[in-house]
Symmetry: C2
């Protein structure tokens, strides 16, 4: 079963990558952008775990390794298909 | 209006970052993982555009700049909240 972790910078934390993308897009003529933010996506493919166990395990992974909670926030979603 | 672009590596393309994450998690005792894949998320905040216009604009941005279509695929979602 697949669990998707979306990690993004907290509000108020500067996002230089997003700023660079915005500038590049603007140079290409895309003028309708107010703001661009970036984030990471990690897709965890679990074996032998029920849905709720997988979510708990993913949460622990975020807290132990994947997320820098000083500047980042995360959201966990289950991928069903 | 916010549009989320999720960019990930195509199936079959090696994902060294995902492999590194899997190894690190495994070293921390997380043993229930079959596979880890990574991706990027870009949140585009549009002004003065309707929903369908924003999606079209985002698609053009992906093709012109954001996505390397040789090795990456993308998905566009509208963020409603």
């Amino acid at each position: 079963m697949k669990v998707i972790v979306n990690i993004s910078l907290k509000e108020g934390v500067l996002d230089p990558e997003g700023q660079a993308i915005k500038t590049s897009l603007s140079n290409l003529g895309f003028e309708n952008l107010n703001d661009v933010r970036t984030g990471k996506q990690i897709i965890l493919n679990f074996v032998n775990l029920e849905e709720n166990e997988a979510v708990l395990e993913a949460k622990k992974m975020c807290e132990d390794l994947l997320v820098n909670s000083v500047i980042e926030k995360y959201k966990i979603n289950i991928l069903r298909n």
